[in-house]
Symmetry: C2
Subunit: 303 residues, 2 copies
Amino acid sequence: MKNTILVVGSVALDSVETIHGRTQRALGGSAVHFSMSASRFSPVKVVGVVGQDFPSPFRRLLQRRNICLKGLQILPGKTFHWKGRYDEDFKNATTIATELNVFQHFKPCLDKEHTKCGVLFLANIDPDLQQGVLEQMGRARLVACDTMNYWITLKRKSLEKLLSRVNMLFVNEEEARQLTGDHNLIKATRALTRMGPETIIVKRGDSGAMLFYREEVFSIPAHPVEKVVDPTGAGDTFAGGFMGYLAASPDWRDIKTLKRAMSYGTVMSSFSVEDFSVKAVSRLSKAEICRRYEKFVKTLAIK
Amino acid sequence: MKNTILVVGSVALDSVETIHGRTQRALGGSAVHFSMSASRFSPVKVVGVVGQDFPSPFRRLLQRRNICLKGLQILPGKTFHWKGRYDEDFKNATTIATELNVFQHFKPCLDKEHTKCGVLFLANIDPDLQQGVLEQMGRARLVACDTMNYWITLKRKSLEKLLSRVNMLFVNEEEARQLTGDHNLIKATRALTRMGPETIIVKRGDSGAMLFYREEVFSIPAHPVEKVVDPTGAGDTFAGGFMGYLAASPDWRDIKTLKRAMSYGTVMSSFSVEDFSVKAVSRLSKAEICRRYEKFVKTLAIK
């Protein structure tokens, strides 16, 4: 019953500084955070690009999670490197350096096995590339995408074309408003639905997340985290838990399934912020995921 | 079984401007918003002050809800008047005028009947006045208080003294951080607990609210509102629903009761923002409250 998920996005090296310490060229990127999380629920294949400097221990770490890296191109040059620093309250990240390196030449190229995947997640990359993947894909059972303010400003037309062809969209509040011009989140997401995706997931950081599906509006709080070490990749980890659970479920149009997917996304992202890079998620046991999920779901219930 | 709630706070006239319109000298103030909400669950008595200009229709509106106004002093002069404007996204209120008028001479004075109330809510006023009420009160079964950044800066010592004597504290995130110097909300509330109150309720606007009680942490999302007309008093309306429900409950140390109280607070505040002043809350039927509560609680459940 499990569908394989194809994720197309960035594979990066991140140098991050927070009040709790720093990392140098740690494993990062949207496709990495997504797949480390999603692979706990469903098989995942990655399409991305790295440079010749990409450390083989990182490759092995992903492969140990049964993440297929056949679609990870190696190009001459260096891997995408992001360097940033977070405020004390983790609200703002200051980018110190963005070295795109080989990532600026990324042309996602799918082989036959990739096109058979039932679920496609288009992580935040140039919407023209996302569109190109869709065209190579043939028919996936379920297509979800992410984006960011940069593309909304620079490539709105391409993005609108893409949105008309996806089932699900992950955005944050600001992006929802920027895309639609509406300040009220319910109105904004309704407008987004008219642009194509039937399901909208609004990621709200430590305020949780909201799901809009047809007439249903579902809000979920964040799982409380006592010591946030590094929020990098929390959104992709959320999307990974969400999509991973859906890909293993018989019906992603069922609101109960969608609510459980939101809870798994929340739980996975709560783990991810507890350490740098993918450290916390990579060392998780299945039992730990289940335990936090059960506790979280129990806490939410009122009656 | 129902306890009567005594609320001490401001009774005001509010002139508010939002993208959806404006009001001139409408009924407002923390004690008003609180009691309009709490009185749907438990009997309420108000201690406050107004000027001779306070319109008698406002007085009757409160009395029709069985809110006892025997403790509402009338002083020569004008009623406290606040004039403000909200941004398009309702995140910030700009104060255009604060005319304290008779409110600057407010000396809460309790009669014998007031001191018999089982529950006391000290709305956001000068902590020295809040302390004075506590001293007149004798023993209430349950004491809760609210405060604001202004008093944290100007009267920290008085506030700390007060906190050592209350059971519950309502704050927003910024106030929790300002009071404790801790950015992480869990750590901040743990520090607040050490200052006195056993239960901390953190109000987070459209991100919902959090409750901290002993080892329990409970987050609740906001009820989605499609058209926010006026957020003035939403926090006091939340506290009113919360305290009103608790006052009618046999055990306010029971986490299930506290969770239900959080839900009623959320539901009441979601109504309050749908119209100016206390309009939406005042016209509510019991059935409408129950309907939204049941639907909300059902939406939250994952399983």
